[in-house]
């Protein structure tokens, strides 16, 4: 049933966020440490187990795939609720820092990628 897929997704997210909060609490910082990443790993793990003992049928899958497909629309809504005004009124310092951080981080990607590839071969 579709709800099984949605419920499985919800289970993964709640479990992941819970562990993220727990890790944050244990190392003494007021932030969720990788909760969503843990939730993703959990879902990937369950989905790969699928073939052996637990069976995720196509209708169940459609409950997950619906939210997968809603990702871009949700990102559009997310863009529409950003505090763009505050970002721009942060003045030149905020803009300068933001621009440099983004440009230099982009430049670092091919560098790091090449480093990985040479190490592998």
């Amino acid at each position: 049933m579709v709800i099984y897929g949605v419920a499985l997704l919800s289970f993964c997210m709640i479990a992941g966020v819970f562990f993220g909060e727990l890790i944050g609490y244990l190392i003494g910082i007021d932030a969720n440490v990788g909760g969503i990443g843990i939730a993703m790993l959990l879902l990937i793990f369950i989905a790969n187990k699928n073939s052996k003992n637990i069976k995720i049928d196509n209708i169940t899958k459609s409950g997950i795939n619906f939210w997968n497909a809603m990702y871009i629309p949700i990102v559009v809504a997310m863009a529409a609720k950003q505090n763009v005004l505050a970002a721009i009124s942060g003045g030149w310092m905020a803009i300068t820092a933001g621009v440099f951080v983004v440009i230099l981080s982009f430049l670092a990607i091919p560098f790091l990628y090449k480093f990985v590839k040479t190490k592998e071969s």
Binding site: M13, G16, V17, I23, G24, I29, D30, A31, N32, V33, G34, I36, G37, A39, M40, L41, L43, I44, A47, N48, I64, N65, W67, N68, M70, Y71, I72, P73, I74, V75, V76, A77, M78, A79, A80, K81, Q82, N83, V84, L85, A87, G90, G91, M93, A94, I95, T96, A97, G98, V99, F100, V101, V102, S105, F106, A108, I109, L112, Y113, V116
Partner: protein
């Protein structure tokens, strides 16, 4: 008449948000097809349009949540909030290739640590160039250059002034917005077209909303890989900025 319509929209806020996003998406794909000959992807236009509307909403209502502060668009704030965003991000993991993930696990972790350090020091250098001399302010602004969550968390931990904390949030917001807009354009230049590069991208940029928006407009298949590393970044930043990185800044000033 009008009042009844407005009340209907407000009372069904999330449904109104679905309709709103549908209309924005339709317009964006129309613009993509007819005005850019398909060169600029529809979702990139939709995200940019969303940001422009957020700016307009901020001007009109004076709040902090862009368009979502206007009562009839309150549902946009819920649909685009962290809860639904994260739910959809988790859903994108369904169908991820475990092999790719295992291969890039180490480099993903490395890129997160490097990403926090790189962003932090660029932010700190800009803060110094703009005349900040006390280590707490420099650290807080550097932390804001990581993400707009790391900034205030660090600033609060170090008791930075409210102005500096607000500034650190602004730096993080600019970063996140730029990543959303620029990524689809620079992706071909930096070969951001495979899962490994996407994991490095997520780890270096770290802003979950920026990475989520940027990859959505570049290639939706890459989203889970970038999002995976990006979601660990804020935690790593909150861990490193008020401790090790602050100590380094403190030694220098």
């Amino acid at each position: 008449m009008i009042e009844i319509l407005i009340n209907t929209l407000i009372d069904n806020s999330i449904i109104t948000a679905f309709l709103f996003v549908g209309v924005v998406t339709y317009l964006s794909y129309w613009i993509s097809r007819n005005l850019t000959a398909g060169i600029i992807h529809g979702s990139a236009i939709a995200i940019t349009l969303g940001l422009i509307l957020a700016y307009a909403g901020g001007l009109y209502e004076g709040g902090t949540r862009g368009l979502a502060d206007i009562p009839i668009f309150a549902g946009v704030g819920i649909l685009g909030g962290a809860m639904f965003r994260d739910f959809a991000i988790v859903a994108t993991a369904f169908g991820v290739d475990l092999k790719n993930l295992k291969e890039a696990g180490m480099i993903g972790a490395l890129s997160i640590v490097l990403g926090v350090i790189l962003s932090f020091f660029i932010g700190a250098i800009v803060a110094v160039l703009f005349g900040y001399t006390d280590p707490v302010s420099i650290t807080t602004i550097g932390a804001g250059a990581a993400t707009y969550i790391v900034g205030p968390v660090t600033g609060t931990a170090l008791s930075a002034s409210a102005d500096v904390i607000a500034l650190s949030i602004a730096v993080g917001l600019i970063k996140s917005i730029l990543v959303m807009i620029i990524t689809p354009f620079v992706a071909p230049l930096i070969k951001l077209n495979n899962p490994h590069a996407a994991m490095i991208f997520g780890g270096l940029m770290g802003t979950t909303s920026g990475v989520a928006g940027g990859l959505a407009a570049t290639d939706p298949k890459l989203v889970p890989y970038g999002a995976m590393t990006a979601t660990f970044y804020t935690g790593a930043g909150c861990l490193m900025a008020p401790s090790v990185l602050y100590l380094i800044i403190n030694l220098m000033f």
